[in-house]
Structure formats: structure tokens, C-alpha cells
């Protein structure tokens, strides 16, 4: 009686899946409208019962051709579009682009601007990891952590709103510094947040990390070896969970990261739980960085003097930063005009997604959701 809808089956089978459908196998379309994909990601999954034989991501549902758009925008304008790539680390995206333009212009960023930028980056990283924590717990069927995570995230958003005027796509970084000075309340607000965070952080461990069901769902699941992490180009917590040192802040320090005290979090287990712990510990490291800087914001300009119309010299410029999800590279090719000739973003989400099929084969469909959670996929970042 069970009849395959013709269009769907053709679509799924027509793709180059590399796995032939055997007896009892079937394919399901996981997304683009699905509660666990947190966006419009489309996975064609080949299943045998509950066991996954193949996962095939189909991209492009939220492709806005940001790279092409940037070619017709000036060096001041294109930064704002990049907030919409990985909307959870908007500051860090903007930061990467600003760094690339500054590299071309040979501009020295004032010390105050550098500190403000790093503070904003780390706040963004915490906010992003908070959201990831809640959303990943939700993927595992626990709804409550989401609201607990949002309580802290909300206070970061308030800080952002006060200083940058926006809560999600801040557009605060400009070539040569930041757009305007920090709000007078900024330092007090951040200190309040640090206090709140320290008072509440134990709830995270009680609610999720120490839970026996949670640990059983995460440990030994979605194993990614260090070799595979490197060969698939994983970066960020996805790679560091497998013991691959990949923190751009440590390896290629930018701004003032080389003067700060913080540890690169490394876990060697390579499973979902390791990736989870990397992010949890990274939040603590970000707190450490903020604590070092919040009382030591130097006086001075918040923005270097730049010309009204920016022109990059002929050549190509590449910068990379560590976003909440991994390594974001910005590659600008300039012909000497006011707009970039060509722009390419190396987004962390795209490479991290590519490892999903490798990790998921042979595990259950419930684990696939958990693995996607620990990879922390942001779909607009994958498609751009």
C-alpha cells in the first residue's frame, strides 16, 4: 500500500549518491523545512530502518550571492553585507573584512579600537555558543536549556544594542577601527553580565553536561579522527574536538590576541561530547579574555583617520579570523578601484558540513541530529 511519491523519489535517486539502494533501504528528505536543521538545509538521507547509510547535503536554499554582491559595493559598504553570512558571529565577520581592507590600506588601528574589537568579538563568541548550547539541547529533545541559554544571551544582546544600535547584525566594525565609541555604560554592563554568567553557569552543567542520558547520547558518537578533521578542512571546535590545533587567535594572532592570556581548548576524544566540551570551555576562555580587557580599555581614538573613498592598491589580500564556528578567511582581489574585483569567503560552516556524511554513516537517525548540533551549522554561512 505504501506508495512512493514519484517526484520525490526521482529527485532523491537522481542524485549521485554513491550508495545503491538495497533491500529495505529508503531515502528521506531531511529538510529544507525541518525543525532540526535550524534553517533551510536539505539532507537526502539513505536509511536502512533507523541506520544511516548515506547523508547527502543539498545546498543553495539560502544562497544570496553575497560574494558577487560585494563586487559592486565599496570597501566601506561590503562589510555590512557580511553580517548576514554567519549571523551569530556578525561582529567577527565584519572584523575579518575590516582586517582585510586595513591590510590593503596599510592602516594602523588605534589601540582603543583594537581592544573594543576584541571585546566585541569575545562577547559575540559567548552569545553564539549560548545559542548553540540551547539549540543543541533542543535537538536532543530537551527544551528547557534553550530558555536558560537565552537568559544570558539576552544580556549580551542588550550590551550590543546599547553600543552598536543593533542586536544581531551590528555592523560596528569599519576599516580603521570601530564606527563610534563605546557607550558610557558599556563597562558596567559587561561586568554585570560577567557576574550573571558566573552565578548561572553551574546550571548548564547540572541541566545538560552531567545528565546521564545526555552523556550516553554524546559519548562515542560521531567520531572524527584528527586525520579526517584535517583532510575535510574542519576548523574551530569541530577540529579542536579531535585534537587538531586550529585556533587562528593562537596560530596567526591578529589585533591584540598575542598579548592576551588564554588557552586554546583541545579535546582528543573526537566524539560529539568532545566537541561539546570544547565549546563549553571556550566560553570560559572568552570570559577570561573579557576580564583581562574590560578594565584596561586604553584611551585614545576609536578609529584611524582614513580617506572618505577607500581605494585598495592592486593586488590580493587574505586575512583570517576565528569565528565562533571556526576559521573565516576573506580573500580580496583588488584592481585598484573603489570596489573589490573579486571576493571570496572561506566559511567554516561549509567545510564542517562536509564531514557530516563521513561521521554519520552507520549511526542512528537520532544521532545525526546530535552530530549536526555539535557541528554548530549556521545555514546562511554555508550558502552565503
Amino acid at each position: 500500500m505504501y506508495k512512493e511519491p514519484e517526484i520525490l523519489s526521482n529527485y532523491a535517486l537522481g542524485s549521485n549518491s554513491g550508495v545503491s539502494l538495497g533491500e529495505g533501504d529508503f531515502q528521506i528528505n531531511f529538510g529544507p523545512q525541518h525543525p532540526a536543521t535550524h534553517g533551510v538545509l536539505h539532507l537526502v538521507i539513505t536509511l536502512n530502518g533507523e541506520t544511516i547509510k548515506k547523508v547527502e547535503p543539498h545546498l543553495g536554499y539560502i544562497h544570496r550571492s553575497i560574494e558577487k554582491m560585494c563586487e559592486s559595493l565599496t570597501y566601506r559598504q561590503f562589510i555590512y553585507v557580511t553580517s548576514r553570512m554567519d549571523y551569530l558571529s556578525a561582529h567577527i565577520n565584519n572584523h575579518a573584512c575590516a582586517l582585510a581592507v586595513e591590510k590593503g590600506l596599510q592602516v594602523e588601528v588605534p589601540a582603543r579600537a583594537q581592544v573594543i574589537r576584541v571585546l566585541m568579538d569575545e562577547l559575540t563568541r559567548i552569545a553564539s555558543h549560548e545559542l548553540w548550547w540551547g539549540a543543541m539541547a533542543m535537538d536532543l529533545g530537551a527544551f528547557t536549556p534553550f530558555f536558560h541559554a537565552f537568559r544570558e544571551r539576552e544580556s549580551i544582546n542588550d550590551i550590543m544594542e546599547e553600543t552598536c544600535g543593533a542586536r544581531l547584525t551590528m555592523n560596528y566594525m569599519v576599516p580603521g577601527g570601530v564606527m563610534h565609541d563605546i557607550h558610557p555604560n558599556f563597562q558596567k554592563r559587561v561586568k554585570d553580565f560577567l557576574q550573571l554568567y558566573k552565578r548561572k553557569i553551574h546550571e548548564y552543567d547540572e541541566l545538560v553536561t552531567g545528565n546521564i542520558i545526555f552523556q550516553n547520547r554524546m559519548k562515542g558518537i560521531g567520531y572524527l579522527s584528527a586525520e579526517d578533521a584535517v583532510s575535510y578542512g574542519c576548523s574551530g571546535p569541530a577540529a579542536r574536538g579531535s585534537g587538531v590545533s586550529s585556533d587562528i587567535r593562537k596560530i596567526y594572532p591578529y589585533e591584540i590576541y598575542d598579548k592576551l592570556e588564554f588557552d586554546e581548548v583541545l579535546e582528543t576524544a573526537g566524539d560529539s561530547f568532545a566537541r561539546y566540551m570544547v565549546r563549553i570551555k571556550e566560553m570560559h576562555q572568552s570570559i577570561r579574555i573579557i576580564e583581562q580587557l574590560i578594565d584596561n580599555i586604553p584611551e585614545g581614538d576609536f578609529q584611524a583617520k582614513t580617506k572618505n573613498v577607500l581605494k585598495l592598491p592592486k593586488g590580493d589580500f587574505y586575512t583570517r579570523v576565528e569565528t565562533a564556528r571556526g576559521e573565516l578567511g576573506v580573500y580580496i582581489v583588488s584592481e585598484g578601484g573603489t570596489t573589490p574585483y573579486r571576493i571570496k569567503f572561506r566559511s567554516p560552516g561549509f567545510s564542517n558540513l562536509s564531514v557530516l556524511d563521513h561521521m554519520a554513516r552507520g549511526s542512528k537517525i537520532g544521532d545525526l541530529v546530535a552530530m549536526m548540533g555539535t557541528l554548530d551549522l549556521v545555514i546562511p554561512d554555508i550558502d552565503r
Binding site: Y2, K3, A36, F143, T144, F147, N211, I213
Partner: protein, 358 residues
Amino acid sequence: MWSFSYIANEIHEWLSKTFNPTWTLIIEMVLAGVAVIGLFAVLGLILVIMERKVSAWIQIRLGPNRVGPKGMMQSMADTVKLMVKEGLTPTGADKIMFNVAPVIAMIVAMLLLAPIAFAKNFQLWDLNIGVLYVSCVSSLMVISILMAGWSSNNKYSLLGAMRSGAQIVSYELSAGLSILTIIVFTGDLQMSKIIASQKTGWWIFKGHIPALIAFITFLIAVTAETNRAPFDLAEAESELTAGFHTEYSGMKFALFFLAEYVNVFIVCAIGATLFLGGWMPFHISTWTGFNHVMDYIPSSIWFFGKTFFLIFVIMWFRWTFPRLRIDQLLNLEWKYLLPISMINLLVATLMAMMGWHF
């Protein structure tokens, strides 16, 4: 005294005076049917708003607060919305099975309301195999879920239904065994006699550790049997969108939804009856004064208080724990719960033979 049994007796006497016995019986049956339908709807509404309020409380938010005082009429508004919504039947679906499945779910939930003693001497049907009847009828629920999943012509629904089938059939075993533990103590399957046997103390206290273990096993098993988180694999929102009722909408969805909540009420009522003394007040053997005070509280309040406490515990589970994976779920049942409850039953039998319980 204004109690449920008083009202029931008054109605019965008035009917007996007015009509001949046959008509009295027919009218009483109709009244009972209407009462069950009303109870089904009212319980559903109450439990839905309760769940939303409990979850809001656990999740540090307010919950529904716009419709009616403190949002208490929210589930009425939801019902109206669901009733006027179109109940779609997908093109590829098996139409008869698809439409019959939610009705079966509803009928099962209503049938299960029959042997529950809501208050002292207030019971629709005090049949002599009450507990057996409950465990038999409750296993019919899986049929409606399998029907819904199979007939929807949707792979997500099918996966959900198959999960649910494996889950309910497995967990019925340990639910049954933990119920048997109490049956061994009482030596009777009739609800009223089980309650009467707890006059001196509830079984959870009288039965020592075996009763406590049985109670915990029962609570876990019924949480799984009613497809509630952390065992909500049949729905598994983040994995299977909505599992077996993915394709359902409008009133057909609402019937599944209500049936789930009424089932939660029923299993909690059974748990309260077997382990916590049903409508029996809390007594401490020698404290006569205390016992008299406890007796003043109406029996219906005792029953509903215990039941709603258990419902709260099950809701607490749902909003705290992540979901298990299907193989972990079955491992938990077959490798841990089932052996534990079997050994527990043996110990309880030994205790009952030796008369070691109070």
C-alpha cells in the same frame, strides 16, 4: 455530605422512582457515556494548560497569559482553532485507516476511564478484573499509532509508528510486572478491593522496598508507554518532525493530542490507585487525631491530588531530560527494567507468602 457518591446515589434513586429498572439502566448508561466524553474533553483541556504552565515555570517564562484570567482559557481558544481548521487527508493516504486511527485513540482513552475510582464509592465500572482490563485496553493504543503511521504515506510517520510499536510493546512488560507486584500483595484485581486493602497504609509504605522499586519502574514504564519525553521517540520533534501524526491536522490531530494527555491522566490514576491508595486518605497508624483530620478532606481531593502530583512528576521529566535514542531505549527496558522488575516480583511474592508486609 456533598460527595460524588452522594450525587450519584441521589440520581440513581430518583431514576429508580421515576422509571422502571430497564429504563433506569439505559438512562444511567447514557449519562455515564456523556460523563466520560465530558471528562475526556475537560481533562484534556486542563492537562494541556497545566503542561504549558508547568513548562513555563520550569523554563523561567510566563506561559500563556492573554486568554482569560492568567491565560487559563488558552486551551479553549486552541480547541476552537483546531475545530475550525481543515482536517486534511493526504492524497496518497489510506483514507479509511487514516481517519479511523484518531478515533481509536480516543475510544481507547475513554474505555480506560471506566474502571478508575474517582472518589469513595464513585466508579463507573468496578469490574472484578479491573487492573487486567486496564493493561489489556491500554495496549490497544499502539494499534491506533501504527495505523496512523502506516496510513499516512509518509516515511517520517512510518518511522515514528515503528518506533512507537517497539517501545510500547516492550515497556508494557515492566509496567505489567510492577502492577503485578501490588496484585501479589493484595491478591485481588478489583480496583475497589485494592483501594480497600490500603486502608491501614498505602502500598508504597506497606510494601517496603519492593513496592518502592515497583513504583519507580512503573513510573518509568508508563512514561514510555504514553510516549512522553524522555521517551517521546514516536514524535521526536527534532528527528521526525512530528512522528506518527505528521500528516494530521485539525480535529484529527486534536484527538491524538487529547488522547495522549488523557492517557497520562489514566496511567497516573492507576499509579495513584495501586501505590498511593487511590482515594484513601493518608493515615499514620497510631495518630488518631491526625487521621481524623485527614478523613475530613474529601476522597475526590485525595484521588485527584495524588494523580495530579504524579502527572506533575511526569511533566517534570519531560521538561528536564533529553530524549533517549531508540537502541538505548530498548536496552533500558530489556537489560535493566525487565530483569529488575522480575527479581522484584519474586521478592514481593516471597514477602507476600511470608506475610512480611504490614
